[in-house]
């Protein structure tokens, strides 16, 4: 009986007799009644024999999720959460994609325990059910903090992680990162019911909805087209209809979950959020074992057996897992900084992705990987419209998934190789020179990043030569080559030879792979990317008239011979002496037509390339003389020539006299204080015996044997104490071997007729 209003008078006694007690019980909203709100089976009416309840007594009904207490069946939950009281209808509206119940946990699940009891109990059949995660009892937090009726507070998906620890290990173990800041949560995700952590970071519920998910795997969004991925990784969505869109390029391909591109979506072809291979959550087969970690993902397809076997990097390819610090780059939190600030010339560097040595992308990492230059999700850095059919296009220097274009400015290359930017304003910029052999970009005329022909990623056929860099230079600088007008000539500075130990230049030396780098080569003196060592941008028109100040020299050889004296240290004292033609004959020109200012102090007498004579790379027209060394001296010291005022009346020692070289004299016990070389008829020194000629007594690079110093910078009249004489005195020199004490006289007046009397003055 269910009446609270006063019944008709005649019914009152009967009503009271029959129903007073039950009615009073129904009105009693006490603790017992509150418990029975869910624990209906506790009602005593089920034990009565005189009534038939509207539902059978089933304290442990078998439901879809198994046998369990009636109070924790879904039906009981829904009876309050159906929208009329509390509202969890979304749980049931998309019930096919909710967290599984009625299943036993897989062996991957480790249900935590507390005080010897499992925190998340299973039902009587050992299966998951609503009560595994939920309880109406004993919550001690506020709804704002975490949903109530959960067994454990679910802050930042802590409840999920309690069982699914294996899914939370981060990229190092192939899992999508969690607790990574999202910035502003994507609207599409939030509208679909996703949640973010307290710090606006990624949590399990950012992608999964335990209840009410509309998609498989409890995903908040349909991910067949990778829409879920794109909600956060919107910048990756441009992969569609590119050569990396395997649904177009390789629809038959399968990822490691054996899904086709159509099944996995464009992202799932290569990445899986859980169980991926490596930090990129890689979903494809493992790369070759030899693959470097920073290239492993790419090489999984770009290998001879892979899906992209026609797009290989070749034997000569840009290295990976090398540090950008090697090229002067320092990554910082504010971007990249270069030590080549002059070459950067006020420009700014793009902070390209870098990695740690294990291939993990690292904001402050230093290692270069494939992903440093390539954005595999974006065909063109300019964002140009993609071709309608990626199968029919071929990548070029301005697309090919490059992060920056290989354009006329070499944007991508010079972002790291900052010091090479200067090639743009040099004659080596073939594109700018409109050379018919030029490639479209700044760097590609000489270099090919992948599948190059040789060392230095060289894109041209090697030319003649034995030097490591020489053969690259002669690719162009050879007869018939692109730079046929710029050859080194028959007489040129040697390359491909080992430097003397005494020479320790602060210049690059070279050696075969694995060998010590001790050879001089073209690259020792030349920086092929910079025309002028002292100027970033040479004046227009000046660059094609190279001389010792420019010409891609690493250091200027003019005016002071800075480059030359890196190796030829002892010759540095020639500067400022009478043999510095900038001092004594500034208007003179060498055989190449260069003035002293153009050639530098060394270049007036020596030509590194295209020398007039092989010996000493002589840069002047030889004069007359009995031997080769003498003819070099008479290049200037002759009538009508530069040093016409310094022509001795007698020029040489008697030709028939052969003397021991100092090395031999030393073996005889001579006290050698100053080496006076002797020469054969061809001007070669180092022989055991030879004739005495000009350089026997003169060291043309040092004015004063007593003083290791440069010249005074003015034309001086010399005497026996200087005048480029090798020996500081006449003692202990070869002269005395024959001339005894008379040697002083003959030494002092060597170039006068008096010293050359016809009678011999042997000791």
């Amino acid at each position: 009986m269910t009446v609270w209003r006063a019944p008709p008078p005649w019914t009152v006694p009967l009503m009271l007799a029959l129903l007073a007690a039950p009615t009073q019980a129904a009105r009693d909203v006490g603790p017992q009644r509150e418990c029975a709100t869910c624990h209906v089976m506790w009602l005593k009416d089920f034990n009565r024999d005189d009534v038939t309840p509207l539902i059978p007594y089933e304290p442990k009904p078998v439901t879809e999720s198994g046998r369990q207490d009636a109070a924790s069946t879904e039906r009981m939950c829904f009876s309050c959460h159906d929208g009329f009281m509390l509202d969890s209808r979304s749980v049931w509206a998309n019930k096919q994609h909710e967290h599984p119940v009625g299943m036993k946990p897989s062996d991957k699940i480790r249900i935590p325990t507390s005080g010897g009891k499992v925190v998340f109990p299973l039902n009587d059949d050992g299966k998951m059910y609503c009560g595994t995660c939920h309880t109406a009892h004993g919550v001690n937090w506020d709804q704002k903090e975490s949903p109530v009726f959960l067994r454990v507070k679910n802050v930042d998906s802590s409840l999920c992680l309690a069982c699914h620890l294996d899914r939370s290990t981060g990229p190092a173990e192939g899992n999508h990162p969690i607790f990574k800041a999202l910035g502003s949560p994507p609207e599409a995700l939030m509208a679909a019911g996703a949640r973010v952590g307290r710090k606006q970071d990624v949590i399990c519920q950012s992608c999964h909805r335990v209840h009410g998910a509309t998609q498989k795997q409890m995903l908040v969004l349909d991910n067949r087209d990778s829409k879920l991925c794109a909600a956060c990784h919107a910048d990756k969505s441009e992969i569609a209809n590119t050569k990396h869109d395997l649904s177009v390029m390789a629809p038959q391909a399968r990822n490691r979950l054996n899904q086709s591109p159509a099944e996995s979506g464009p992202c799932g072809v290569c990445h899986v959020p859980h169980g991926g291979n490596g930090p990129a959550l890689w979903a494809r087969l493992a790369p070759p074992a030899s693959a470097d970690a920073t290239a492993a993902a790419c090489l999984a397809c770009h290998n001879p057996e892979g899906l992209a076997k026609h797009k290989l990097t070749g034997a000569h390819t840009h290295p990976v897992n090398v540090s950008v610090t090697d090229v002067g780059i320092t990554p910082t939190g504010q971007g990249w900084v270069t030590r080549f600030t002059d070459a950067l010339n006020g420009g700014k560097l793009a902070a390209l992705p870098l990695f740690d040595r294990k291939g993990m992308r690292d904001r402050l990492g230093t290692q270069v990987g494939c992903g440093t230059c390539h954005d595999p999700h974006r065909w063109s850095p300019s964002g140009d419209a993609r071709a309608p059919d990626p199968r029919k296009i071929e990548g070029g220097p301005k697309d090919s998934f490059l992060r920056l274009a290989l354009d006329e400015d070499g944007s991508l290359c010079v972002n790291c190789h900052v010091d090479k930017r200067t090639v743009a304003t040099s004659p080596h910029n073939l594109a700018a020179a409109k050379d018919q052999n030029a490639a479209s970009g700044l760097c590609q005329s000489c270099h090919q990043v992948h599948d190059a022909k040789g060392k230095y990623l060289w894109t041209r056929a090697d030319g003649p030569g034995k030097g490591i860099t020489e053969v690259r230079c002669t690719s162009c600088h050879r007869e018939g080559g692109v730079a046929a007008k710029k050859l080194t000539g028959a007489h040129s500075h040697p390359v491909g030879v080992r430097l003397a130990r005494s020479m320790q230049p602060k210049l690059p030396l070279f050696g075969a792979d694995g060998a010590a780098k001790k050879q001089i080569d073209c690259g020792t003196c030349h920086d092929v990317h910079r025309w002028d060592p002292n100027n970033i941008a040479p004046p227009p028109g000046a660059k094609n008239k190279g001389d010792a100040r420019t010409s891609f020299l690493r250091k200027a050889a003019a005016p002071n011979g800075e480059l030359c004296i890196e190796c030829h240290v002892e010759q540095r004292f020639v500067r400022g002496t009478d043999h510095d033609l900038a001092v004594t004959a500034p208007d003179s020109v060498n055989a190449l037509g260069q003035s002293a200012a153009q050639s530098g102090v060394c270049g007036q007498c020596h030509a590194v390339h295209n020398a007039a004579d092989a010996r000493r790379l002589w840069a002047r027209a030889p004069g007359d003389g009995a031997d080769d060394p003498a003819r070099r001296c008479t290049s200037c010291h002759a009538a009508g020539k530069t040093a016409a005022a310094k022509v001795p009346p007698e020029t040489r020692h008697p030709a028939g006299v052969m003397v021991w070289a100092d090395a031999v004299r030393a073996r005889f016990g001579a006290d050698i204080r100053a080496v006076l070389p002797v020469f054969d008829a061809n001007g070669n020194r180092g022989i055991e015996r030879g004739t005495i000629t000009c350089p026997t007594c003169h060291e043309p690079h040092r004015w004063n044997a007593r003083a290791a110093e440069e010249g005074a910078g003015k034309n001086l009249e010399g005497d026996v104490r200087n005048s480029f004489l090798r020996a500081p005195d006449t003692e202990h020199v070869v002269c005395a071997d024959c001339h005894g004490k008379d040697a002083l006289f003959r030494y002092k007046y060597f170039h006068s007729k008096a010293a050359h009397r016809s009678y011999p003055l042997f000791r």
């Binding site: 269910t2 009446v3 029959l18 129904a26 005189d50 509207l54 929208g83």
Partner: protein
Amino acid sequence: MRPARRRNRLSTRRWLAALLAVGTAAAGAAEIATAPIKHLYDLTRGSEGALSLPSDVAVSDAGRVYVVDSGHHRVAAFDRAGKPLFTVGQPGAAAAQFRNPVGIGVDDNGWFYVADKDNHRIQAFDGDGRWQRSIAVTVEGKPAAPIDVAADRQGRLYVTTNNHRVLVYDAQGRLLRQWGGEGSNEGEFRYPATVALDRAGLIYVVDVLNTRVQAFDAGGKFIIGVGEWGVLPGQFVRPKGVATDARGRVYVADSYLDVIEVFDEQRHFMYVLGQSGKPQRFVSAGGIALDSAGRLYVAEMLKHQVSVYELGP
């Protein structure tokens, strides 16, 4: 304006019948008093697709059936034969969009009103589904979530809210009065659910956690209560739906017991719909409605359908 469809139409049983039924049961494990119904058809698909968690149903004088397809945040309309006519709404907060709608009612003009719960408003549509207006639901200046709505003959709207109130609006949407509050005394509620009016203009409000139906006059004065806590005939565990027939009987659907219990015009338990002592089961019944032809419409939420029956004489 005529009263809403949920009103008394069928003839009245006597108090004594109920007493006899109870008396018979008391004699020892008596079978449950039942009255047969005839199944006609089920509404499972609207014009836009399958229904999901239909939470309430209303029938206009013209015979149009409006179902809150709550899982899809929309309303599906059918003709009397069960043919889908149109669908209104999608998730959202704009006009003619819904967020977790629950209840629905019709007025004598054939308009239907939707309790747009999480948008905190009642939305009104004409019989063809054209949006007419929206009424913001607030209690003490704060948005409140409407659960159900019913209209009387004067066009007044009676709205239940999940903060335990009944609000009354005039036809223009102006709040006329309100009553309720959380509690278990007369006139108080613990989660009022559906609301229906009888031919006399009494307002019946299902009071879920108090496991009863309370009847009020138009001024909000408590008149009578129906039902009580328990699992026996005449008792409720989770009452949700309520409707009245022309005879003044009150039909109450229980979403846990899965039955519809019928009370006579004196609000005494008469029987459970079913046959031969076996109740007809309605799976998680939400709102129910009766039409002028004696058809019963039951929103079976977890069956994702509205079941249509013909009541017995």
